[in-house]
């Protein structure tokens, strides 16, 4: 009979940060790293295009491939077009490492994702935590917008 509960060594997951701006990405990562002792998980920041605001799907694909030997890759995009670049990168990458494009807001995703990854949590756990990262803030602010709420415009 096999022993139950044997600890399986699993490599820490990697994180690819996809932002329109290197300064935005670096500051958000620095903020999140406050909660991590030591180096934290393997990370690659992909930010800007040619010194302008923008995201480059090919660079995101290279970043994913650079983390191919981790236990999976979480991609954290900032605005919507970063999500498009992240999704296109899934077509362009050459490695077969498991990848999830995070569904949470940028700052909260990093603040939740980096510490959990550093603790050795598996990709699906971190991805779930990231996808619900905003709920903590919303609870604190007692914000209860209906899913189809119309935001009044001035």
């Amino acid at each position: 009979m096999e022993r139950i509960g044997t600890r399986v060594e699993r490599p820490v997951i990697g994180i690819v940060v996809v932002s329109h701006s290197p300064r935005l990405a670096d500051a958000a990562v620095e903020l999140a790293r406050q909660m991590v002792q030591g180096d934290g998980p393997p990370m690659v920041v992909v930010a800007g295009v040619d010194g302008r605001f923008g995201t480059d799907a090919a660079a995101v694909a290279q970043a994913i491939d650079a983390l191919a030997d981790t236990g999976g890759v979480l991609v954290v995009p900032d605005l919507g077009s970063a999500v498009l670049s992240a999704e296109m990168a899934l077509d362009l990458r050459r490695s077969s490492v498991e990848v999830v494009v995070g569904a949470g807001p940028f700052v909260e995703s990093l603040a939740v994702g980096i510490p959990l990854a550093a603790l050795g949590c598996p990709l699906d756990t971190v991805a779930t935590a990231v996808a619900t990262a905003l709920s903590t803030t919303r609870r604190a602010r007692s914000f209860r917008a209906a899913p189809d709420a119309v935001i009044p415009m001035p």
């Binding site: 295009v49 040619d50 923008g54 090919a58 077009s81 498009l84 077509d91 119309v150």
Partner: protein
Amino acid sequence: MPSRTSTVDTSDPTVTPRHDDALTGPDLVAWIELMDDRLVHQAEWLTELDSAIGDGDHGINLARGFAVLSERLSDAGPTDLDGILELCSTTLVSTVGGAGGALYGTFFRRMANGSAGYSRLDAATLAGILGAGVEGVTSRGMAQVGDKTMVDALVPCRLALGSAADRGDSLSAALEAAAAAADAGRESTRPLVARRGRASYLGSRSADHLDPGAASTALLVRALSDSWNASALAWNAR
């Protein structure tokens, strides 16, 4: 039903027909070069449109992308259809940035995949391949007609091209129909409230503006039609 018209004089066996009513590699290069030329003048207009409801960089980003692309294509670039279209994709992805880079990158990549193995694209084949590109854009952007995006120009364009091919129209007529449909699609975005992209953050304030993505898409289709017609005219005038 009208027969398919052709600009080729097949009675002269010494002439290697270039215009057998189908696009080849050099026609795609001519298309990109014309788009690059036009963007030099139209970038400012696109940027104006984008400043009204977006981040104001669509024109300059696209002009930069097509300038690099045009240079790479003329500088001993690929000559096969899928190689050219793939280079369009990789170049635009890495030079345009933002939604434009990812969406035009996806558009050209899916067209490249669809054209693998073809050495020429007649109206019917082009309609199928363009359809693959449009499908790539709609699924990547999760956008539908009416969302005030480039899809509002792409979908009518694809439908017009498909109908023209079914009627047996010449490639020239089919491309003109496609360009007219894309222009009409661009105009259709004016009253719409944006439901995708950063313009959607503006809510109802995004109405009464043309969508910059639909505008650049219409320019791209118009450039294809015009570059093909210029090339066909030159061939006929020999």
